[in-house]
């Protein structure tokens, strides 16, 4: 019997999420614990935008002022990712802090090696939250895993008084208050919420660019209720993160069958068992995207996903896999749309898969841009200046 595709699609068009599966709104307990003196809740600033989440609860995403919890892998290996986030915020004239009083969430190591425990992980999270609170700026989390893990930590702290007691004791020794943000906000949620303001400053036409989107596992699978789901996108059945801003900027978002699959990162696998990572990323993601959607670029919104999908493509060539796709974050894509320099801001020379045909299709002259980057680099080599500055970038 043939699969009744039309019937299935018609059912999906009228999709309604089962309210019985909706988790309770954690805010009730969050504020109750505040009333009982257990912690301080850092409120989302008044300058915020509401977005819908998976089970319909509106989530407040701050426009400004924001405190940026950076990502190890983004800063370390794909620094155009973090730079693009900051560049877009600056371009929109909004207030932010790029702090030095911030550690990694340490969750990459935890999921890879388990050389930590619930108390340590919660204490790391709450130390960083306290550091943000002390500045008065609201935390925005850059890494998908930090975001997912911090949501887990919030759930654990809400449910376990003994854990709260341990963490409070540790923070007391550091002289830091026990603070939980009203919402845990991923940077991609900020980009989603700000997509119309970003669109208003768009200078590069993206209407001939086709994209595929990889939603990060730790964004929409871990503590799923916090993730943004727009009823007008994918009929509300799939997170609208990344897809929303790509469409707003005029790009064509193409579907592919393995969208739910992980990228293959694996935490320990990407570092010490990369045969798995390479195979999964190539066979289940890049090749499938190429065959089913043939996009110009893969957009995603997490450290590990950009790294895995980008870096895994080289070795696959040895196995005759010819599919090759440029990979970047939607932050870099949005920055390019707003006229950011592909090297000084987006730092695409740190990426492995060939992105130059994409830039050409966008009408960006990468050869001239690279020559400009080299000119600036010579100034550093000659000792005329020590670093490239924000002023140089927008000169």
């Amino acid at each position: 019997m043939p699969i009744p595709v039309e019937e299935i699609l018609s059912k999906k068009a009228k999709f309604e999420r089962d309210p019985e599966r909706a988790p309770e709104d954690f805010h009730d307990e969050l504020f109750k614990l505040e009333e009982e003196g257990e912690w301080i809740i850092q409120r989302v600033p008044d300058d915020a935008i509401e977005v819908p989440t998976k089970y319909g609860r509106p989530k407040k995403v701050p426009r400004q002022p924001t405190w940026h919890h950076k990502s190890c892998g983004q800063c370390g290996h794909i620094p155009g990712y973090s730079t693009s986030i900051f560049w877009v915020i600056r371009k929109l004239g909004l207030d932010y802090i790029d702090p030095k009083d911030q550690t990694s969430c340490t969750a990459w190591n935890y999921y890879a090696s388990a050389t930590s425990n619930a108390a340590a992980q919660a204490a790391v999270a709450m130390r960083n939250f306290a550091a943000a609170y002390e500045t008065g700026y609201f935390p925005i989390i850059h890494c998908g895993t930090s975001y997912g893990h911090y949501k887990e930590v919030r759930e654990e702290l809400l449910g376990h008084a003994d854990l709260r007691k341990q963490v409070r004791e540790v923070l007391g020794r550091l002289g830091k208050p026990m603070v939980m943000p009203e919402e845990i906000v991923h940077y991609s949620e900020w980009f989603h919420a700000m997509r119309h303001e970003i669109k208003a400053q768009q200078v590069v036409d993206m209407s001939n660019i086709a994209v595929t989107v990889h939603p990060a596992c730790h964004y929409h699978k871990l503590v799923e209720g916090d993730a943004i789901y727009d009823p007008d996108m994918y009929q509300g059945q799939r997170t609208s993160i990344v897809s929303g801003i790509a469409e707003t900027l005029g790009a064509e978002v193409r579907n592919y069958s393995t969208w739910f699959d992980c990228c293959g990162f694996g935490f320990r696998h990407i570092l010490v068992q990369r045969d798995f990572t390479r195979s999964f990323a190539t066979l289940r993601k890049i090749q499938v995207m190429k065959e089913e959607a043939d996009p110009d670029v893969v957009l995603t919104h997490d450290t590990g996903c950009v790294t895995t999908l980008d870096k895994s493509q080289f070795a696959a060539k040895a196995h005759g896999v010819t599919a090759s796709l440029p990979v970047m974050s939607e932050a870099q894509f949005a920055a390019l749309a707003m006229g950011a320099h592909p090297y000084k801001v987006c730092q695409l020379h740190w990426h492995s898969a060939d992105y130059k045909p994409l830039l050409e299709k966008m009408g960006i002259d990468w050869e001239s841009a690279w020559a400009e980057f080299q000119e600036d680099m010579k100034k550093l080599e000659r000792g005329e200046q020590e670093f490239l500055t924000w002023e140089d970038v927008d000169a």
């Binding site: 190890c72 892998g73 800063c75 370390g76 620094p79 973090s82 730079t83 790029d98 030095k100 009083d101 911030q102 550690t103 990694s104 340490t106 990459w108 190591n109 090696s113 388990a114 050389t115 930590s116 425990n117 108390a119 340590a120 204490a123 790391v124 654990e156 376990h160 854990l163 341990q166 004791e169 540790v170 020794r173 550091l174 596992c217 699978k221 871990l222 739910f260 990162f265 694996g266 935490f267 570092l271 010490v272 990369r274 798995f276 390479r278 195979s279 999964f280 289940r284 870096k311 070795a315 730092q347 020379h349 740190w350 492995s352 680099m377 550093l380 670093f387 490239l388 500055t389 970038v393």
Partner: protein
Amino acid sequence: MALTAHPAHKIQKGRYDDVPHEEKARLFEEVKADPRYEDYLYGCYECGICVAACPSARFYDFSPRRVAQATAREDVEQIYEQMNDDIWECSQCFSCLRCPRGNNPGGIITIMREVAINNGMATAKEALEGYTRIIYKIMGTGTQVSPDMLQPDAFPDWGPQVKEVSDQLELWRRMLPPETLHTTSTGWAIEPKTIMELYVIWHATGALDMIKDVDSNLHMILEEMMEDRLEDADYDTSPVTSNGH
């Protein structure tokens, strides 16, 4: 046929027969004692939805369903085998949270891994071979990966572009506009006080001591480094009075 293929029967003739059942039961009790355990396991329908979503199941003899089943049945023999042979294959992506029963097999595996580390199991040591530098980085410097880890001999499969980054690293880092990103040995510039606060967390929660049995040399290096830096600071690094484990 089905009876003779029962996992328990297979395991009785397996390579872990020499480990006393009591020891296996003790380890499982440690898993169950984790406060998160009751949030992660509600029984198993055996529907396999978790397996269908699992990336590791596609490339390894690995199944989150088997983990949920074994723990739900409290099959300590199978759990012991999984703690040795299976748990390190998990990708920790948490795709298995699609479970209609509300189970979190990935979370159960996180706990099983912690117990394996805490007990210095040989297979945990094997799993962490080649991983020492990462633990050093995260515990010692506060960021997990750093720009100077992009070495061509460490990542030959990432292509020639890694060598270019490595050759140009110091200059390319200075070509980053954010002031915090000019570092090469850490992901970003971190305040010394912030690092010391992280060291206090590792000490007070027992996380530092977790690696004593799996990598004694690394433990010694980290402990000495942390003691040196904390020497003149007035922090209490003793274990917190209430420990969840």
